[in-house]
């Protein structure tokens, strides 16, 4: 019992340190010069575009009703992001959907929401001043909790205006059904997958990246098993076209455009790493013994990191803590 409690305490402290390092690195990035950052636009398919710059990828849906964004990168990039949006559409930004609450994905919420507007109707027009004068910001309600936990939270104008607490929330915008699907305890406890059904595109947030091992934000309820569950959900939702390619396109939180086959490789890798560590935990190995077996060695050159806010060592430690607490 005492050992389990100690493990939980260590796990919590470790996760809190990781989250602090993430927020600190984001804070230092905020002081960085973003002058050289370019926002590149890639048409994915249908109404969907991917905006790539510094921070999390932005998914953009454009149509007659307006512009919908999934995530907003860092605040200092908002003018460049807005300029990139204007190369695609001259309609107002009407919706911002957040995949989770980390600053590299929601930093531009306030700026971009204030540049937009939404159509207010019914009782809301008379009840709230300013209704309709900015874009709606939609996220799982735990995103608000995550923001509140941050030392330097984004301005309140960038907080979600429309939260959901159920398994999913639906939207119909620009002639397209959009499913916002909560993924419990994955990268954080507030993750949403965004599925554009007509365009056949899924935006994953940091549940899936092509640039490194996933950051398991245990301080905010993140778990590897939740990430694996979410990746398996993506595989269930995605349907590849001929020769196991294209079909449903998948925009990761960071990195390049992908499809089901890329998510599959990532899911396979994380499952294999989990199984290796789980086997050692079942054998009664300590964390240092598990580390000595180098359970990620064959993937480290591609996905590992020796420095930065999320190292391979921290990744292994987070999985060990999660599995040994079960």
């Amino acid at each position: 019992m005492i050992i389990n409690n100690l493990k939980k305490i260590r796990s919590t402290i470790s996760a809190a340190i990781c989250f602090y390092l993430l927020v600190s690195s984001v804070a230092s990035l905020a002081q960085q010069n973003f002058d050289d950052v370019e926002i590149n636009v890639l048409h994915v398919q249908g109404n969907i575009y991917m905006l790539v710059g510094e921070g999390g990828n932005i998914t953009l849906q454009a149509g007659d009703q307006g512009v919908l964004l999934v995530d907003t990168m860092y605040a200092p990039l908002s003018d460049k992001v807005f300029a990139a949006i204007r190369t695609i559409s001259d309609k107002p930004i009407t919706y911002i959907l957040n995949t989770h609450g980390h600053p590299d994905h929601i930093g531009g919420n306030a700026n971009l929401a204030m540049m937009g507007s939404n159509i207010a109707g019914g009782n809301t027009i008379d009840l709230f001043a300013g209704t309709g004068e900015q874009a709606k910001i939609v996220a799982h309600e735990n995103v608000v909790t995550n923001i509140l936990a941050q030392d330097n939270p984004i301005p309140i104008e960038g907080w979600p205006t429309d939260t959901y607490y159920t398994a999913k929330k639906d939207l119909f915008f620009n002639g397209e059904a959009i499913m916002i699907i909560h993924q419990p305890n994955a990268h954080t406890d507030g993750d949403s997958l965004i599925f554009f059904r007509r365009s056949d595109v899924i935006s994953t947030g940091d549940i899936f990246t092509t640039t490194g091992y996933p950051f398991i934000d245990a301080a905010n309820g993140g778990t590897l098993q939740g990430i694996l569950n979410a990746l398996n959900n993506v595989l269930d939702m995605a349907v590849p076209a001929d020769r196991q390619e294209n079909g449903t396109m998948i925009i990761p939180g960071h990195g390049r455009l992908t499809d089901e086959a890329d998510v599959l490789d990532y899911r396979d890798m994380l499952t294999i790493i989990r199984d290796r560590i789980a086997y050692r935990v079942d054998q009664g190995d300590s964390l240092s013994q598990v580390k000595a077996t180098e359970p990620t060695f064959d993937y480290d050159v591609r996905y590992g990191a020796d420095s930065g806010f999320w190292t391979t060592e921290q990744f292994v430690e987070a999985i060990y803590n999660e599995l040994s607490a079960q």
Partner: protein, 274 residues
């Protein structure tokens, strides 16, 4: 004053104009794969833990040792075609055809289609750039070609993660490769040079050959996935470290040393055998 010789000038002009056509040998046609090289690996397929001759890293070796063929029973893995750096190794009867600009008659691209899983590939010949790094990766990658004399040289980037040998030896999605296509009458040779910063310590070089076949008909290839084994969601077949049951099978069958079958750059060279 010496009289200007119109006929010689015209002949010279014709020769100069004809030079590119002479240098750029047409590769179009139906090509039957010739399996005289590496036949055992290419047709029945390699055995488990048969990595010799590949300059793999230790990471690639460990990953290959954890690979289970049962992975291919998962529906999402069943219809994957060979990536373009490996496609020529399998049942690779191939059609090559040209895409020509109807106005300028310039060569825009070569297209290829290979029999197994029927992957179609485009080799752009119009000087276009490769896509940015954030663009999608595909099984065939993005290929551009140019002529070096009569040799077609092709560079391919944007590959999906694939395999260096179809027994689990990985090739990463950061790899790129260069090909040289030579045609000698009815025989075509392809030299493939793969560079992988993740799983290779040196360039991995292979050659493949085809013979022109005027009667060849490549049939349609349909692939539909099926649930072969009813597994729990998310189960991924693999071997835990040290538990690959086939570790010594190939080495013992052919009386080969383990450090040979486990591959690595040194196993590519005759000095290793000596």
């Amino acid at each position: 004053m010496k009289k200007f010789n119109h006929s010689k000038f015209c002949l010279l002009l014709i020769l100069v104009i004809a030079l590119p056509a002479q240098a750029q040998i047409d590769l179009s046609g139906e090509w039957a794969a010739v399996f005289h090289e590496d036949s055992d690996e290419r047709r029945p397929g390699p055995e488990m833990v048969e990595y010799q001759g590949i300059p793999i890293t230790e990471a690639a070796r460990r990953r290959a040792l954890s690979w289970s063929p049962s992975l291919l029973t998962l529906p999402e893995h069943q219809c994957k075609p060979h990536p373009s750096d490996y496609g020529s190794r399998g049942p690779s009867n191939m059609r090559i055809w040209k895409e020509i600009n109807s106005e300028s008659q310039q060569l825009i691209a070569y297209h290829t289609r290979i029999r197994w899983q029927a992957p179609e590939r485009t080799i752009w010949m119009d000087g276009r750039d490769h896509p940015p790094e954030y663009a999608a990766h595909t099984w065939q990658g993005f290929s551009t070609g140019h002529w070096e004399g009569s040799i077609l040289v092709v560079r391919t980037t944007h590959l999906k993660q694939g395999w260096a040998r179809r027994n689990g030896v990985p090739r990463s999605d950061l790899a790129e490769f260069t090909e040289h296509f030579f045609r000698h009458d009815n025989i075509m040779t392809q030299v493939v040079i793969v560079n992988d910063p993740v799983y290779l310590t040196e360039p991995f070089i292979r050659t493949n050959n085809w013979r022109i076949d005027l009667t060849q008909q490549i049939p349609p290839y349909l692939c539909e996935t099926v649930t072969e084994i009813d597994r729990p969601q998310g189960e991924v077949p693999h071997y835990l470290p040290g538990q690959n049951p086939f570790l010594r099978e190939h080495a013992e069958r052919y009386n080969l040393p383990m450090d040979g079958v486990l591959g690595g750059a040194e196993t590519m060279y005759p000095s290793f055998v000596e």
